[in-house]
């Protein structure tokens, strides 16, 4: 399997402060890679570099073989990578359907049309309904986003990222703010949806180690700007030093077998 | 050489007055994030009221030499409409900035007629009163002492404001609220009172500025609208929210205007707008402000 996203010796310095000190990793088709690590370890910087939001001080980051250093969110979306954030972003006065439609249309050849009505476009509407159904939002299609519950807003955020038909999707703490009972349900939905939607790889940034253990094909632990470990879950949790560094002295739970 | 000195003094005088208005704008923006299009109206109000106050005092036997303090007091007094205006603006604090601009624009319209109602459509002035303080010889030029007094007063106010903001408790709370309103609220600061007092302070700076300018210029109904553009030029060039910016911006605009009037009067305002545009593009935060977007 070919590597979709490759980072090589990524470094990011802000003046004297080194946020990232030589990170190399690659993500191939079919993988669900979790990036874990304590706050301040450099996860956010790494993610911003991987998604082309920031240019690295040195090193390269390639998506599908092309350099994406600092290309910005719009180009990222056009190349096939989507990102959903931890803090919910919505379009307050737009309905669920309209929100998803923005993503559907921007990726199609209809993005630059100025005179054709978008509400009556059956192809767009069908796709919007499809994506909404995956996330259980089909009954809320005509609801304004600001009237949704917090959990629904979160779902919409992820759904709109999906609607871009990306090849790689990066989920930034997708279950934060979601009640513990619903967390697994959401992850299950997302992973299934991704498979159905043709998403080739998922990058997950998560603090919830249960979820990480259950769904990842690989776990990358970042500490002090460097890769501490890059292993499959079974090996990851089998190493007490790594677990202690990431989870803290108190070992909460060890995964039994890989997802 | 004479011409240059003339421009310098004229420019600095204009800058001194502009600074007062700009400082008021900066304070209000810094704390409440409101951009007050009616600052020119306050300025005009101070000018007209100043004239009325001085004329009244002179008619009641005041010696002409006291007109400067009377102007200052008049400016201070009329600036006390501040809290009432602020109460109105309260209604739009939490809304989109567009509404704030609109509300203050509405005030400009209203003040236009309020001024006309009380003082009529003709420009008013204090005649030769400015000469009461005589002239001072500076090199080859004769400068009215009054102008120098105003420049000194403005510098004094600038220094005073600076000290006030840095050293007093009120000043520190003001700066804290400007940085982080929620935090201030959480720390028990009476933000409502803070907003009202800062706005009033801003208003007073504007009205005193207007009052101080009338001996040398007429008060007219064009004042409010014309001043807004200049005041904004100052604030943009200097940087929104920065006192130092207000000073530097005022100097730049004041000197440019003086130079333009002397050399190529067609270019007067054009030059200023060009500078505003260039600054906004090259350094969107102004020379001393924080960059945005």
């Amino acid at each position: 399997m070919s590597a979709l996203l490759e980072a090589h010796e990524l470094r990011k310095r802000y003046g004297d402060f080194t946020a990232l000190d030589g990170v190399t990793l690659s993500i191939a088709e079919g993988e669900l890679v979790s990036i874990v690590g304590p706050n301040g370890a450099g996860k956010t910087t790494l993610v911003n570099l991987l998604t082309g939001l920031l240019p690295p001080t040195s090193g390269t980051v390639r998506f599908k073989g092309e350099d994406i250093a600092g290309i910005g969110p719009v180009n990222l979306a056009k190349r096939g990578m989507a990102r959903a954030f931890q803090l919910v972003h919505i379009f307050p006065s737009m309905t669920v359907a309209e929100t998803i439609a923005v993503a559907v249309v921007s990726q199609s050849d209809k993005a630059m049309r100025f005179f054709t009505p978008v509400r009556k476009d059956s192809a767009v509407n069908m796709r919007v309904r499809e994506v909404a159904a995956i996330f259980g939002l089909e009954r809320k299609l005509q609801t304004e986003s600001r009237l949704l519950s917090q959990g629904e807003k979160k779902l919409l955020d992820i759904a709109s990222a999906f609607a871009l038909s990306p090849e790689v999707i990066l989920l930034d703490e997708p279950t934060s703010g979601v009640s513990s009972g619903d967390k697994h349900g959401l992850m299950r939905n997302v992973v299934d949806a991704a498979r159905k939607a043709g998403v080739k790889s998922i990058i997950l940034v998560e603090h919830d180690m249960d979820l990480v253990a259950e769904y990842s094909t690989r776990i990358v632990a970042i500490q002090s700007g460097r890769v501490l470990a890059d292993r499959a879950p079974a090996e990851f949790f089998a190493d007490p030093e790594i677990v202690a560094a990431i989870v803290g002295k108190r070992v909460r739970r060890l995964a039994q077998g890989a997802a | 050489m004479t011409a240059l000195l003339d421009i310098l003094i004229g420019g600095v005088f204009h800058a001194a007055v502009l600074f007062l208005v700009a400082a008021g704008l900066q304070l209000v923006f810094g704390v409440q994030k409101i951009v007050n299009l009616a600052c020119g109206s306050f300025y005009a109000l101070g000018a007209y009221f100043g004239i009325t106050a001085v004329s009244w005092c002179l008619a009641h036997g005041m010696p002409p030499g006291l007109f400067l303090p009377v102007l200052v007091v008049a400016g201070l007094a009329i600036g006390l409409i501040g809290p009432f205006i602020e109460a109105l603006l309260l209604t739009v604090y939490h809304r989109d900035e567009a509404f704030q601009l609109l509300l203050t624009f509405a005030l400009v319209l209203m003040f236009q007629d309020i001024l006309r109602f009380f003082w009529g459509a003709d420009p008013q002035q204090l005649g030769d009163l400015v000469m009461t303080y005589g002239r001072v010889k500076m090199g080859a030029v004769q400068v009215p002492t009054y102008n120098l007094l105003v420049i000194v007063a403005s510098i004094a106010i600038a220094v005073g404001l600076g000290a006030f903001l840095k050293k007093t408790r009120y000043g520190r709370i003001l700066r804290a609220t400007a940085e982080n309103r929620e935090m201030s609220l959480a720390l028990g600061v009476n933000v409502r009172w803070m907003y009202a007092s800062v706005f009033t302070l801003g208003t007073i700076l504007g009205t005193v500025g207007g009052a101080l300018v009338v001996p040398t210029a007429a008060a007219s109904l064009d004042m409010p609208v014309e001043l807004v553009v200049e005041a904004f030029a100052v604030v943009v060039i200097g940087g929104l929210g920065s006192m130092r910016g207000a000073m530097v911006g005022a100097l730049i605009v004041g000197l440019m205007r003086a130079a333009a009037i002397s050399w190529y009067s067609e270019l007067e305002m054009l030059a200023i707008y060009l500078v505003v545009i260039v600054v906004l593009i090259a350094r969107p935060g102004g020379l001393f402000g924080k960059p945005l977007e």
């Binding site: 923005v102 100025f114 | 109105l88």
Partner: protein, 322 residues
């Protein structure tokens, strides 16, 4: 009620067409500026209501339309109104593009101040270079030909309230239809997204700056057309058209009508012209009352008249079963 907007528009247009038979000639001369502003504001609201950018300098584009018409008719002898409209609109867009390129990086206050500065730059240009622009008297506007016809037999008023009036109603209808399609297209959808959450729309692949630029250019186009109509109506193009308070009036009208509604700008244009003329007839302190009304609008009725109407409509519908 999907057909509601279409029905509403047809009713409104029919009403407009019928007005000359119902009102006096003098009253019709008031409706003309309303038509001009209705067109200008449709464009302005694309930028304000739909894109979320408040410009305090759009009087600049209205004046380009007015001065363009004046220069073309009295100095260059071009009389075809169609050609005039096209040239003014193109000139307006040409000026708008560099301004937009510089301004759309900024939002909110800075956008407002920057556009105000550009507007005033143009104003002082008009004022100071009186050799070209006629200074504070401005330039005369001669009567243009409509679809090639000169109507020499009609005097000024008869021309304005007759053929010119109907011409403008048709212009409003056409430009209104174009704007409707524009805001309901994928472009319109993306524009609203950029207004609601710029960052998110970027992550959804929307080219924010580019779309803002187009919205700005279109708004300039419409404002120029409005300005051209105003110029023919008054027979004069003068610098007051470019003063920042005129830009403020454009915003006032839009908010009065309701910026969150497609028809708001049209409602606003008519209401404002009517309001202003009534007030001017009642008192010399009409600015005060106009300002007071704006205060009430902003504080109590931010969604304007169209918004009020839409609320009433929704309330009526809620009580009937669907």
């Amino acid at each position: 009620m999907r057909a509601a907007p279409a029905i509403l528009s047809i009713v409104a247009l029919v009403a407009l067409a019928a007005l000359p038979s119902l009102l006096t000639q003098y009253q019709i001369t008031l409706v003309l500026p309303a038509l001009a502003y209705a067109i200008a504001l449709l464009g302005f609201n694309l930028l304000f209501g739909y894109t979320g950018l408040l410009s305090f300098g759009h009087a600049l584009f209205v004046s380009i339309g007015a001065y363009g018409t004046a220069v073309l008719t009295s100095k260059l002898g071009l009389k075809s109104f169609e050609a005039i409209l096209l040239l003014c609109a193109v000139a307006s867009v040409a000026v708008a593009i560099p301004i937009a390129l510089l301004s759309v990086r900024y939002v909110k206050i800075f956008f407002g101040i920057l556009t105000l500065a550009f507007g005033m730059l143009f104003h002082s240009f008009l004022f100071k270079f009186y050799n070209i622009t006629g200074g504070d008297t401005g330039i005369r506007v001669l009567r243009p030909t409509l679809l090639g016809r000169a109507y020499e037999d009609l005097d000024k008023t008869a021309f304005l309230v007759g053929p010119f009036y109907y011409y403008c109603v048709v212009l409003l209808a056409i430009l209104g239809f174009v704007m409707w399609r524009l805001v309901h297209s994928p472009f319109g959808l993306h524009l609203v997204a950029t207004r609601e959450n710029r960052r998110k729309s970027e992550y959804l692949g929307v080219r924010v700056r580019f779309f803002r630029l187009i919205a700005f250019a279109v708004s300039a186009f419409y404002c120029a057309v409005g300005g051209a109509i105003l110029a023919v109506n008054t027979g004069q193009a003068d610098p007051e058209l470019a003063y920042w308070t005129h830009s403020g009036e454009l915003v006032f009208m839009t908010v009065l009508g309701g910026f969150a509604n497609f028809f708001g700008p049209v409602v606003g244009a008519f209401s404002f012209i009517f309001l202003k003329s009534e007030l001017m007839g009642l008192t010399q302190y009409w600015r005060f009352w106009l300002g007071a009304i704006l205060v009430i609008l902003v504080v109590l009725f931010p969604r304007g008249l169209a918004g009020l109407f839409a609320q009433l409509w929704a309330r009526l519908h809620r009580s009937t079963p669907t």
